[in-house]
C-alpha cells in the first residue's frame, strides 16, 4: 500500500482526513499513484494534473523521502521507502501567493 498525503484543500474536496492508503498495481510511480488516487476520488481529477495531458499543475509539488520529485517523469519508479509504505508520497501546493 502507498501512503499519500494531500494538501488540506484537496482533503476537504475528497472528504477525507489524514493520510490515504492506495493500492497501486506494479512498481509504483508518480503517474500510477495519481491514476489510483483519481480513480478512487474522481473529484480530484483536474486539480493535481491536467485532465487531458496529465501534466502536473504548475503550483503543485510532489515530495517523498526528502526529495522533490515534481520534475521527474511520471513513469519513474518511486523510492523503495515509498513503495514499501515506510514513507508517504506527498502532494502539496507550492509556496506562492496569499
Amino acid at each position: 500500500m502507498i501512503r499519500v498525503v494531500l494538501p488540506a484543500h484537496l482533503r476537504t474536496l475528497a472528504k477525507v482526513s489524514g493520510e490515504l492508503l492506495l493500492e497501486v498495481e506494479g512498481p509504483p510511480t508518480p503517474g500510477g499513484v495519481l491514476d489510483a488516487l483519481e480513480a478512487r476520488y474522481p473529484v480530484l481529477r483536474g486539480t493535481i494534473r491536467d485532465h487531458v495531458t496529465l501534466a502536473r499543475r504548475p503550483y503543485v509539488r510532489f515530495f517523498a523521502c526528502g526529495q522533490d520529485l515534481s520534475h521527474d517523469p511520471p513513469g519513474v519508479p518511486l523510492p523503495e521507502a515509498v513503495a514499501s509504505g515506510v514513507e508517504p508520497f506527498i502532494v502539496l501546493g507550492a509556496v506562492a501567493g496569499g
Partner: protein
C-alpha cells in the same frame, strides 16, 4: 409593499470563499452563512431561475484549478460536478499583451449563467475567452465554439485581468438569442442558440486601440438588460456608459453628467426599464471612487441624466472598487439594489437606492453578487 412572505437570498463570491446572505422581504435583518469553499476564489455564484434552489458556483485556485459546485437545496449542501473545460478542436491562438500569437489556454470560469427555463442547462464564460454549455446540470461541458471561431478570434487581446468572457445575457423573449462580452474583444450576439456569432460593437469608441471604432478590441466591462425590453441593453465599458435600442446593432453614449464614466458594474431596476445604476470609478489607473466617496449613480431616463445616491454609503476616505459582477437587483417592490466591494462590504438598498446599509462589512474582496427573490 409586496414583500409579505417573500425572501431574498444574496449569493456572494469572494476571493476566499462564498457567502449566502438571506433576509425576509423587509430586507433589514440578515442571516449570513459561509464561508463555503473557504480559501478558494469564488468568481461567481448564481441560482437557476427555473429552480431557485439549484445554485451553481465557480470555485477556482491558482494551485488546484477549476471546480464547479452545485447545490440543490438553496446552498445548504454542495456537490462538485464536472470541471473539464476542453476547447473544441485545435484551440489556435489569440493575441498576447505584446501582440504576439498566444495559444488559447483554459484558466478559470468567470461567470455562470443558468438557463431561464431548464434547471439542468447552464452556460459558463471562461478565460481564455470561450463559452461553454452544460445540459446535464454541470456534469459535462461542451464549448459553443462558433464564438471563438468568429473570424476575429486571432485578434482578441486580453485586458489587464485576462481574456475573460465575463458577461452572458439571455433573451427571455427568444431562447435562441444570447449576448456575451469579452475583455478586451467586445460584445457579441448569437441568434441561433450559440452556433454562430457576430460582433455587435458599432458605435463603441475606445481610444486605447489603434482604430478606436474597430469591429473588435473594446474592453466591455458589463452589459445589463431589463427582461421586458430585451432589445435595449446598457453597457459599462472600460470608459463610457453606452446604450443600444436595437439589440446591439448600434450603440450610443449615455454617460451624460457622470463624474467619471469609467466603472465596472451596471444594472437595471426590476420594475422601471429606464432606471439604471452604475458605480463610477475614477480611472483605469486608479481603481477607486472619485474623491474617496462611494456613490451609486442612478438614471431614471435611461442614461445621460444621473443623480448620486449616497445615503448610508461612506463619503470619506473610501478607496474600494466594485467589480463587474458585483451588482444585482431583487424583484420586490420597492426594488432592492445590492453591490459588493473589494473592501469586503456588501451594501443593500431596500428602496431602489434611496437608503443604503451594509449587510456585511468584513468579507474577503467581493468578486460577485447575485440576488434571488424567493416567493
Amino acid at each position: 409593499m409586496e414583500t409579505n412572505g417573500n425572501r431574498v437570498r444574496v449569493l456572494v463570491g469572494t476571493k476566499k470563499g462564498a457567502f449566502i446572505l438571506t433576509s425576509d422581504g423587509k430586507r433589514r435583518q440578515w442571516d449570513v452563512s459561509g464561508p463555503h469553499f473557504a480559501g478558494w476564489e469564488i468568481y461567481h455564484v448564481k441560482g437557476s431561475p427555473a429552480a431557485p434552489d439549484r445554485i451553481y458556483a465557480s470555485q477556482s485556485s491558482g494551485w488546484f484549478g477549476q471546480l464547479i459546485q452545485r447545490s440543490d437545496d438553496g446552498g445548504k449542501t454542495w456537490e462538485p460536478v464536472g470541471n473539464q473545460f476542453a476547447y473544441d478542436g485545435v484551440p489556435g491562438t489569440h493575441q498576447w499583451y505584446d501582440g504576439t500569437p498566444h495559444p488559447w489556454e483554459f484558466k478559470r470560469v468567470w461567470h455562470l449563467e443558468p438557463s431561464l427555463a431548464a434547471a439542468d442547462t447552464v452556460y459558463a464564460g471562461v478565460e481564455d475567452a470561450a463559452l461553454f454549455r452544460s445540459t446535464d446540470g454541470g456534469a459535462s461541458w461542451q464549448e459553443l465554439s462558433g464564438l471563438r471561431g468568429h473570424g476575429s478570434g486571432p485578434q482578441w487581446q486580453p485586458g489587464a485581468g485576462g481574456l475573460g468572457l465575463h458577461t452572458i445575457v439571455l433573451d427571455p423573449s427568444d431562447a435562441r438569442r444570447l449576448f456575451i462580452a469579452i475583455s478586451a474583444a467586445g460584445a457579441f450576439r448569437s441568434d441561433d442558440a450559440g452556433e454562430t456569432w457576430r460582433a455587435i460593437n458599432r458605435g463603441l469608441r475606445s481610444e486605447y486601440i489603434p482604430d478606436p471604432a474597430a469591429e473588435v478590441g473594446h474592453c466591455v466591462h458589463r452589459i445589463a438588460m431589463h427582461p421586458s425590453r430585451p432589445s435595449v441593453l446598457f453597457m459599462q465599458k472600460h470608459w463610457d456608459v453606452m446604450r443600444t435600442d436595437d439589440a446591439g446593432e448600434s450603440w450610443y453614449e449615455v454617460s451624460g453628467n457622470l463624474p467619471t464614466d469609467f466603472g465596472f458594474v451596471i444594472d437595471v431596476h426590476a420594475h422601471e426599464p429606464e432606471t439604471i445604476y452604475v458605480v463610477p470609478i475614477k480611472s483605469d489607473s486608479e481603481h477607486f471612487p472619485p474623491d474617496g466617496k462611494l456613490r451609486v449613480y442612478r438614471s431614471r431616463t435611461g442614461g445621460n441624466e444621473w443623480e448620486a445616491l449616497t445615503n448610508g454609503l461612506p463619503q470619506d476616505n473610501c478607496y474600494v472598487n466594485v467589480l463587474r459582477d458585483a451588482m444585482s437587483v431583487d424583484s420586490l417592490d420597492p426594488c432592492g439594489v445590492y453591490f459588493g466591494t473589494t473592501g469586503g462590504q456588501v451594501y443593500a438598498s431596500p428602496d431602489g437606492g434611496e437608503h443604503w446599509a451594509p449587510i456585511v462589512r468584513d468579507l474577503p474582496p467581493v468578486l460577485s453578487v447575485e440576488v434571488q427573490t424567493l416567493r
